[in-house]
């Protein structure tokens, strides 16, 4: 029993705190990789766009995770909390930046849809092998 406790203290606690601290980064890394994989390997242009949006989401989430503080509240001024202690509020800067980044991402997606429509109009397909064949 004591052995188990020692084991718990010596290994599990650090492990759990490690997971608690870094799981978000690791998930996002995975998401980023999934996105890259989709963009490189998927043959349908629509799927490529999905991969692109995964990459963008992963990047955006990365910033948001970085802005998180334990035991802090949202970024709206709350009278009782006052303004003196910045640790009471989340960091608003990454939030702002990501707002912009999301907009950029949306517009990029919109443009890519426009391109897809233009491509389909010319080649009647969105699958890359067929597309390359018809481009010759």
């Amino acid at each position: 029993m004591t052995e188990l406790m020692e084991n718990y203290n010596g290994f599990l606690v650090p492990a759990i705190s490690f997971i608690q601290g870094y799981y978000a980064y690791l998930f996002l890394l995975a998401l980023f990789t999934i996105g890259l994989y989709a963009m490189m390997m998927k043959r349908n242009l629509m799927k490529k766009i999905m991969g692109m949006s995964f990459i963008q989401s992963a990047t955006i989430m990365f910033w948001i995770v970085a802005a998180y503080k334990e035991d802090a509240t949202v970024t709206v001024y709350h009278q009782p909390l006052g303004l003196e202690n910045p640790d009471l509020y989340l960091n608003p800067l990454p939030h702002t930046l990501m707002l912009t980044a999301i907009v950029v991402a949306v517009v990029t997606l919109g443009l890519s849809f426009a391109l897809i429509v233009a491509i389909y109009r010319r080649y009647q397909t969105l699958d890359e092998p067929l597309l390359l064949e018809r481009m010759q």
Partner: protein
């Protein structure tokens, strides 16, 4: 693996959350929290940063939106009306 050198999630002692950085200069995030309401009489700090402190970014964002619209217009419209 590089993520291991980043501060863990929710770490209050991360450089981003300090009031001064290692070189002794003020850090933007803490300044915004402390002064946003004072500077623009607006409780939502994100709005203040978005539209005042970093309004140039937001103008850029608006221009991106405009550019996106213009780009779709350029690509898809057959003829300008």
């Amino acid at each position: 693996m590089a993520t291991l050198e980043l501060p863990p999630r929710g770490d209050v002692t991360a450089p981003v959350h300090q009031t001064v950085n290692k070189a002794g200069d003020p850090v933007a995030g803490a300044y915004f929290i402390q002064n946003a309401y004072r500077d623009a009489a607006t409780p939502n700090m994100v709005t203040v940063i978005l539209a005042d402190y970093r309004s140039w970014d937001t103008l850029g964002e608006v221009v991106v939106v405009f550019a996106g619209g213009m780009a779709c217009y350029f690509i898809l419209r057959r003829r300008e009306s």
